[in-house]
Amino acid sequence: MTETSSFVRTDMLPPAPPPVSQTGVIKWLRENLFSGPLNTTLTLCGLGFAIWLVQAAAPWLLHSVWNANSQNECRSIIAETWGPEATGACWAIIRARWHQFLFGFYPMDQYWRIYVTFAALFVAIAPVLFATLPRRMLWLSLLYPLVAFWLLWGGPIWGPVFTALGFGLWAAVFLALSVRLGVVVAAGIGLVAAAVFWIYGVGALEASMQSVLPLALPEVDSDQFGGFLLALVIGVTAIVVSLPMGVLLALGRQSDMLIIKSLSVGFIEFIRGVPLITLLFTASLLLQYFLPSGTSFDLILRVVILVTFFAAAYIAEVIRGGLAALPRGQYEAADALGLDYWQAQRLIIMPQALKISIPGIVSTFIGMFKDTTLVAFVGLMDPLKGISTVVRADLNWKGVYWEPYIFVAVIFFIFNFSMSRYSMFLERKLKRDHR
């Protein structure tokens, strides 16, 4: 058997390439796009739509004009360059008025204050967003609201400084009394002490310090705020304040204490039962009737407060969903460890409930940030409608339709997409189960 039969192969056949239909692009196409009559039809329809979209939009985008002083100039440039029938985007409107879309009517020589505030925002939220950063940076985050307020609105620096001292007083009273009197009572007494200081102390101290050491930025009036500056002021404030408020409301709703429970339920159900527009009209129109004639309570502040309430009610319900998802055993385990109510919430319940609620919380924030454009209906200069109306009222830009919308949409997308990506990052990082 040393000789092999001539009909038996002695060497391996080289591997043949797979059939054309089972490899590469074609395989992928067949599997994903043309796997059946229904999918084939849908693919063709989708393709047709995509081609139509590109055909419709591409020439318009390719014929963009950036340097012009009016829409008519845009039109004549487009007609000269690409022929009389061509249509094109006139981005010159953005080039001419970008500052109003971004900052409203904020004084131009003070723009640096907005830049500093915006840059500082990232420094302030970084330690909140990323747990790897040193914990001591959280003090910066706590100081940030007052710094931002002073930078944006201006005025003497001593107002924010003494307001911060008021918070310090609150914290001191709380720390001194919380062991003996309990968390809620201590916080209440601290708040009263701080409020007395804010009402009676700050004004006088501010005036005297200002005379000793005058440190002030030029004041900027609220009605000079507009565009994305306004959207961010409302959005960031509402996000920052509504989360703790929502946590407290969610806990209040689960509380056994009748008054706290009914107040929380009443607040949440009332706010959720009313459209945001109604609340905005209340803020802008109704409140004025109840204030003494001649007082004017800043419109942006009124709107911020009501948008915050609105967001807080939704956040409370999202967090209540997270609380409800926690197994009963977690509460019992906390009790068994001998933790009191606040310790249990802080160390065991909330970290888990918040983790479960992340997608809902971030959705609420994204929705709320987009809802800030509704303030246009009470005459504030939101970027989408308010500023666009103003810019279009200029005869040079009247009739420019799509460009402002696209510009504003792109900026909104950048903000909201970042938020969404961050929430996914956070979910992955906090994932403890089903690995």
Partner: protein
């Protein structure tokens, strides 16, 4: 129940007392600033420019009043008001006066407790069509699709007009002027209807303005004017006569440029009273005698305001028409200063 009624009336009483307590003039003087409700963006009438300063035909009225009361046309805080918020903002005291292209109507004057003090622009609703449609009168618009803003008097006027002429139409609802213009140009409707001044401004900026005609019919009366709250008649008088000073100045040929010269040389008693050289007109409304002079110096006379913002010299190019002086066949007629 009784208690809540009691508290309710207490609050009402407080409100009434609060509103009636301080006169608007005193408040404005104490504040050092006039708060004027304006349109956030209406071409030619009111809009902030690239630097954020409000400009326009309606804005000039605010400036004139500020100059008359406070001596400085720049001491105005402009509050942009939407169509929904404008009257409530005035009634609740958030603004001192409204100069926001608002039509003077019966129900607004009575039910909404506003006082329209004068008419600074006589407008009316018109139609705009493409020339190729071959229509030369609004009465030929039988069966047309018409772009119209929802929730405005424009919509009701349109329905009334077609009903009165026994015609049918298909409305295409739009939200604002920018959308109307865009839809009209895209061919979504045969005709676009809004106030004639707005049509003229839109047409001026359209790429093919020569192919678009504004039909001759004006189907509604839209007397636009500044308004104040019911109940403070002295303040209403101040706004009214600050505006009429501008109209009167045009009638007598007093302009921003020649005012000092005229004041020095004129012997005409009407002009002398207007400029505060004779009589005590100012004292009668709680101002000094130069109030009208300051108003004219601040913005120019009515004709100058018109020309600078919306007149034939601008690209909006509105003709004076009904807004000419009564001596020129228009309706601008200032009651005598005496």
């Amino acid at each position: 129940m009784k208690q809540s009624v009691f508290f309710g009336s207490l609050v009402m009483a407080g409100l009434v007392a609060g509103v009636a307590g301080a006169s608007t003039l005193d408040e404005v003087k104490a504040r050092g600033e006039l708060i004027c409700g304006v349109n956030p963006g209406l071409t030619g009438f009111a809009a902030p420019d690239a630097n954020g300063n409000y400009q326009g035909f309606d804005v000039a009225v605010c400036k004139a009043v500020a100059a008359a009361v406070l001596g400085d046309p720049m001491k105005v805080k402009y509050v942009p008001l939407t169509g929904e918020t404008r009257f409530t903002a005035l009634a609740s005291g958030e603004v001192d006066m409204l100069s926001r292209n608002s039509t003077w109507t019966f129900s607004r004057d009575t039910e909404l407790a506003l006082d329209f003090v004068a008419v600074n622009y006589y407008d009316g609703q018109g139609f705009m069509v493409h020339k190729e449609l071959g229509v030369s009168s609004a009465k030929e618009l039988e069966g047309a699709t018409i772009c119209v803003q929802t929730g405005t008097t424009t919509e009701m006027n349109l329905a009334d007009f077609f009903k009165a002429n026994n015609m049918t139409y298909t409305p295409v609802n739009i939200a604002d002027d920018a959308e109307g213009q865009q839809r009209f140009l895209a061919g979504a409707c045969d005709s676009y209807t809004t106030d004639a001044s707005g049509l003229a401004a839109s047409r001026a900026t359209m790429p093919n303005a020569d192919d678009i005609v504004i039909l001759p019919e004006i189907i509604s009366k839209e007397p636009l004017g500044p308004a104040v709250r019911h109940g403070d008649n002295n303040w209403g008088d101040i706004v009214r006569w600050s505006f009429y000073a501008l109209v009167e100045a045009e009638e007598y040929g007093v302009t921003k440029a020649n005012l000092e010269e005229v004041a020095a040389s004129t012997q005409n008693p009407e002009i002398r009273r207007l400029l505060g050289l004779e009589g005590d007109m100012g004292a009668k409304i709680g101002l000094d005698n130069d109030f009208a002079k300051r108003a004219i110096l601040a913005v120019g006379n009515y004709g100058e305001v018109f020309e600078a913002n919306i007149g034939a010299g601008t690209s909006i190019g509105l003709a004076r028409g009904l807004n000419a002086q009564w001596t020129q066949g228009g309706l601008m007629y200032a009651p005598p200063f005496r």
